[in-house]
Symmetry: C2
Subunit: 336 residues, 2 copies
């Protein structure tokens, strides 16, 4: 194993507690001793054993980030935001990928009760509306902050974006461009943020005197191939929708692929707005009109709130709920 505090102490003719306090820059220790210790520690490249100090201090210095996916521009950018603050606070970021599987999610959260992490940042996976495992975690007092995909029935802090409004604006834009039939693609009826986006879509249609039709609401899955054929079916049918709202990034890019395969022109044959944080949306063929979420900012904010809780600067009473608005970027996929 590595070098221990005991060795440092004996080498220097000091007590372990003296060394420990020196490392903690305690006021009890003389400047001279501190200097001596620090110099030796540096020379030996000594780093205290993380497990031992975690055990004693009852904090690990780790936070968990639970996400459905990582190869997705929203989540990877949010992780960047989280990391940017964890980095400064000297915390370590453990990544857990649920792959939209609630069973996996459950077994992941289960482990957090053991004090493997000091807090949890989470974006829920889709699937059935089961939140017992999250409730249990929350009940066991592990600091928890949701970002993006929150569980509405849990009173934890949340960092969200204005999903209802964004859904509304996306749909409104398509209407303004002359679409009378507009499809809504989504991955889960059980995610609150998707419900909100859908409510926005729905309201925009109603406000414009258009009756929402079931055939245009496509419930996708977590399997790409299945989604592929669902979208293909949508676009092959007689009354092909004139506009499409893709409520997640993957479904939007998949729609592009399907259009290519079917030889459909965007925006000529159908127009598309997608929820996406892709930096390269402007480079797509055609450039994609997006609702872009403030991914980095959301991650950063969620992490900041978590650290506030960890530092006891927050009572459980006040549950923060922060909403950071998304931006609509109009591009060629909704052009003429």
């Amino acid at each position: 194993m590595g070098i221990t505090i005991k060795k440092i102490a004996s080498d220097l003719g000091l007590a372990v507690s003296t060394v420990s306090k020196s490392l903690g820059d305690s006021y009890e220790i003389s400047e001279e001793t501190k200097k001596r210790v620090l110099a030796y520690v540096k020379k030996l490249n000594y780093v205290p054993n993380a497990s031992a100090s975690s055990l004693k201090k009852r904090k690990t210095g780790n936070i968990a980030v639970v996400v459905p996916e990582v190869a997705d521009s929203y989540f990877s950018t949010a992780i960047n935001g989280i990391e940017s603050v964890a980095q400064v606070k000297g915390y370590h970021v453990i990544i857990y990928i649920t792959h939209e599987d609630q069973v996996k999610e459950q077994s992941i959260l289960q482990q957090f009760k053991s004090g493997r992490v000091d807090g949890v940042l989470m974006s829920a996976s889709s699937g059935k509306k089961i939140t017992n495992h999250v409730k249990e975690l929350f009940a066991s007092k592990v600091p928890l902050v949701f970002f993006d995909r929150a569980c509405e029935d849990i009173d934890a802090a949340k960092v969200l974006t204005n999903d209802f409004e964004s859904g509304y604006r996306a749909t409104e834009l398509l209407l303004k461009k002359g679409c009378r039939t507009i499809a809504f693609l989504h991955m889960s009826e059980n995610l609150h943020i998707i419900q909100e986006r859908f409510r926005g879509y729905h309201k925009a249609l109603q406000d414009n005197g258009i009756k929402p039709m079931k055939e245009y609401i496509v419930s996708c899955t977590s399997q790409d191939t299945k989604n592929h054929s669902l979208i293909k079916k949508l676009l092959s049918r007689e009354g092909r929708p004139e506009g499409i709202v893709g409520s997640t990034e993957k479904l939007t890019t998949l729609t592009y692929t399907v259009c290519n395969e079917l030889g459909l022109r965007i925006p000529g044959d159908t127009k598309i707005v997608g929820f996406s944080s892709m930096g390269i949306a402007p480079l797509l063929n055609p450039s994609l009109t997006t609702i872009t979420q403030p991914a980095f900012e959301m991650g950063k904010t969620a992490a900041t709130i978590l650290f506030k809780i960890l530092n006891g600067k927050k009572t459980d009473q006040i549950i923060e709920k922060v909403v950071i608005p998304s931006t609509l970027y109009e591009r060629a996929s909704t052009g003429e």
Copy 2:
């Protein structure tokens, strides 16, 4: 704090050691006792404290993944590959992002000597050719496996792709398409993989009787804005290159952006091949010809090797070096 093994033991009228052994499914314990313990543990949702067991067992169950970036299709996909095997092994994945900053990288690696993680998977950051901190880590016997961006002067296991050949093929394709002047964009002269890609580029030119010219070799930085103007300069100059090899994803997409700004047509005015693992390369305008690395596979392989080392199934003697070939996908950006 949570519930401890001591409580379980006293509740059940057993000794802590009996409970501990039951949890470890030790042969010493009777089936009946095991069952009783397991049932109670399950009922209480007990999970052993990670720090305590790490301290005792001298292994944390964590592995570190050190990457320059996470919002990049190669790295996020590689992380997926790593996670897929860590998941099965019951390991936890701690992510460290260096942002191409060797100073940060150094301070990150420094911490691994304390036994915070059992092993390290790393893709080196660019910058000057400093590898002392990595050497130090390696010398301190922390299991280390490189993936993609390795330090050539360190005898750790490596998972690579065929960079020389890929560079050659990318360039060769452009030549075949009639390009006589071909630029090479790169971020760092000090990364071995980039050197290899460059060697391939260079050799392909020579093999075809074309003299490589300095003006067409663009050394970019880690700052997007600076790279932007460097590429703009390249494409604005008189003898604009007829073809471009983008040796990293970001530089390639940046080139698209610049072409858009300058009103240059791809592939008409200049043709492009990019190293990239983007799934949506076919959807770009125009679709991008790529050298696509087997990102998931590389991550998975690197993790598998690391766990082999962790399980002692490997002697330090035999340093594995695995090469998984990339694939050239020809698309519209190198068309007529």
